[in-house]
Amino acid sequence: MQVSHFSAAIIFAFFASIVFGITQRTAPRDMVLYGAKCFAFFAAGTLLASWAMWVIKH
C-alpha cells in the first residue's frame, strides 16, 4: 500500500487527534473540541512546513 506524504500526514493527524482528544480532556464536549483543534493544527502545520520547504528549495 502506497500513499502520498500528504495523505499519510492527514491519516496520522486524524487518528492521533482522536486519541489526544480522549486522553487529554475530561468532558465529552471538550474532548471533541480539543481533538478538532489538534487535527487543525496537525493539518495546518503540514501545509505550512510543505510551503516552507518549497520556499527553501526555490
Binding site: 502506497q2 500513499v3 499519510a8 487518528f15 482522536i18 486519541v19 489526544f20 480522549i22 475530561t26
Partner: protein
C-alpha cells in the same frame, strides 16, 4: 440519605479500586481500548481501539518496519520501545513475521512511524484508563 458504610465494605471497595487500577492499564496495553471498555467507557474504548488498531495496521500495510529487541543502535531500541506499546498487536506481528520494512519505498518509512506512534498512543490510552480507575478522571 446514604447508609454509612461498614469498615469491611470500605476495605472491599478500596481493594476493587486497586485491582482495577492494575487490570485496566494492563488490559489497555494488551488490547487497545480494553482498559476503557472494562470500565464501561464504551465509546471512548471503541474510538481508541479503532484509532490505534487502524494506525498499526496501516503502518504494516505500508510495509513499515517493526523493530525487534536487538536492533543494534540506539534509534532502533527506541523504535522497539515505541512498537512494544502496541501490546498484542506487536506480538502478533512479530510472530507472523510481518513488518520487515521495505527500505526502497518512501511510504514504508511513513509506515514505520505509524507503527511506532500507534504504540505510543496506546500507552497514552492505557495511562488514561489508569486515571479513570483511580478516580482522577471520569
Amino acid at each position: 440519605m446514604p447508609q454509612p458504610r461498614s469498615k469491611a465494605d470500605a476495605i472491599l471497595a478500596e481493594r476493587e479500586l486497586n485491582s482495577m487500577a492494575i487490570i485496566a492499564p494492563i488490559a489497555g496495553w494488551l488490547i487497545p481500548g480494553a482498559g476503557h471498555l472494562i470500565q464501561r467507557r464504551w465509546i471512548r474504548g471503541l474510538l481508541l481501539f479503532v484509532s490505534v488498531f487502524a494506525m498499526f495496521v496501516l503502518g504494516v500495510l505500508m510495509e513499515g518496519k517493526v523493530y525487534g529487541l536487538n536492533g543494534g543502535d540506539l534509534l532502533d531500541m527506541l523504535g522497539f520501545v515505541g512498537d512494544l506499546g502496541s501490546g498484542s498487536l506487536y506480538f502478533v506481528t512479530r510472530m507472523m513475521d510481518w513488518g520487515r520494512g521495505a527500505i526502497q519505498l518512501a511510504s514504508a518509512d511513513y509506515g514505520t512511524k505509524f507503527i511506532i506512534v500507534s504504540g505510543l498512543l496506546n500507552v497514552m490510552s492505557a495511562v488514561d484508563a489508569y486515571d479513570i480507575a483511580i478516580g482522577k478522571k471520569e
